[in-house]
Amino acid sequence: MSVTAYLVLACVLFAIGGTTVLVRRNSIVVFMGIELMLNAANLAFLAFSRMWGTLDGQLAAFFVMVVAAAEVVVGLAIIVSLFRTRRTVSVDDESLLRH
């Protein structure tokens, strides 16, 4: 039951993060939603690691964090670069692939 509780919490956080990506227009907020999703995955990893009694899950969460950090770096650099050229952080304005 307990693992399930943590899992459900992780699912809820994941869903909220996903909805944020879809609904919000500010690209920085969208990015935060993505971070939230990664955190939800971490939580699930740790819950399962505790369930199995091994530390592999914790290791996986660790790597997730590292990669999330790298990703944030690059992502924010992109946002900054876009902001410098277009003076906007709205994701809707980056629509050059429009028909």
């Binding site: 990506v21 994701v91 629509s95 692939l97």
Partner: protein, 648 residues
Amino acid sequence: MNAIDLTLLAAGAAEAPTGVSLMWLVIAIPLASAAVLLLAGRVADAWGHLLGVAASAAAFVVAAWAFFELLGREAGERSFNLGLFDWITGDEFSLQAGLRIDQLSISFVLLVTFVGTLIHIYSVAYMSHDKDRRRFFAYLNLFVAAMLLLVLGNSYLVLFVGWEGVGLASYLLIGFWNYRTDYAVAAKKAFVANRVGDVGLLIAMMTMFAHFGSLSFDDVFAQAGAAKVSVLTVIGLALLLAACGKSAQFPLQSWLGDAMAGPTPVSALIHAATMVTAGVYLVVRSGPIYSHTPNARLAVLVVGAITLLYGAIVGCAKDDMKKALAASTMSQIGYMMLAAGLGPIGAAFAIMHLLTHGFFKAGLFLGAGSVMHAMQDQVNMRRFGGLATAMRVTWITMLLGWLAILGIPPFSGFWSKDKIIEEAFIGEGWQPWVFGLVAMLGAGITAFYMSRLFFMVFHGQARWTDDQHPHEAPALMTVPMAILALGSVALGGILSLVGFAEWLKPVTQAFTEVEEQEPVLPVIVITLTTLVLVLAGAALAWVRFGSREAKVPILPPPAGALVKAAREDLFQDTANDVFLVRPGQAAVKGLTVLDTNVVDGAVRGIGWLVQTAGEKVRRWQNGYVRSYAATMLAGVILLAAIVLAVRL
């Protein structure tokens, strides 16, 4: 069953004499000549006609040679199967193309080549002013080759090749002067009517293949006795349809009148003597099939009788000389069909009448051509009259032909036509009375309209226009006419004397033994009554048209309903139009609409569908990241749901 005939016909075991084995030349030589004349082009204009005549004459020589060899044989040994090459080799169906030389086919070959050669010679003079004379001879040779293939083929398939070939040649020749639209339309009409008949031949061949597994005459006739009557009836009726198309019998007779648009030699050769008799040949050759199906035979009789009267009635009202002769041809072939439907004995007389008819009708046509030549291609008989003095030779030859067709003894027509009328009176129940009386009546009407034609052209007052100076035709034209006139006089008697029916017996009575029967009326009564009717008809015509006091109006006078109908070919064209042409055109229109809307519509619809679907799907490509993210998420959810549903 005649056992001897069976084995001989089946195996062709007798060693073929040289002339017979060279019979393939009669087809090859005219065909090669046609090819040369067509391919050589204008280069051959100077000598093309001579080559054509020579080819036809060569064919006649070979045919005569084979004929004399056949004469030298016993009655039962006169049938040869000359295999040429393996045409179709298959598991289920194999056919060896070859020629069958027997009494029936050699008779036809002689007729075609002899009359054909005479008409070739005639055409040299008749077409001398035409710049396309070489092409004319090429087509004539092509026709001769195809007709000979038709009568010489040893299987229905080879016959069919010749059948189609003569149809093609007829089309080419009717529409020879194709810069006249109405001539081209007449050629098309002839071809289409023939095509309708060809459907019959195809159905018959398919049925034969389905039931007998073979198309060669030997196989089919051997198995015909054992087949079901219903199958044989179907085959018989289908063959009758084919014969109607080719021989211009009711209901496919409307093309013959229009076919007179071709040059007169064409009308003489094709539409009098030979091609139109191909239907009769088909029926007579298929005798073994017809002998087992009384229903199909009855159909043949009925068709023959109807056409006989039809042609006669129409012929009475025609002012165009050639069209009147065409109606006469139609009617005489009706006689032949009637005879062919009477059974093996009648079939022999049908062939005899065919041979004599070939001579006198060709002679009449050539005479008509001579008259046209003299009157500057005029054909309206109301503008002729009194030509007897101006064109003596033509007058004499046409006189002899006229007497022959009337059936006045001792001219040819008497021997064959009277015999047919006699045969028509043989039978049980109502049939002999009906058909016999029809045939007699037809003879009377024939006498009337043929006399009308003769008198309107040659006797009575001259009704020429002022610019006409009729003169006799050149020798190249009058000599063939004279030879044909000789045939008109003598052929019937000669054939009767030598026992032509006896000569044909191994063919017509190969699979059935028929005993002689007596007509329901005494023979002498039939003969005398016919003669009286004929003379009455001729006298009536003399009074109306030929005597010096007869007033023949220049314009067709108003007349009763029957005459008006006869002028309109008894509304056959209208009937064709209403029953065939209009529905056909409507069907084609409907099919076109179907094709455009349904078939093309389906194809275009696919394109439209793809395009519209693409158009709708394109909306998704809106360039917005969030939209794409939504799509991805939707996909993920879908996959997860599927996995969930399946696995857990």
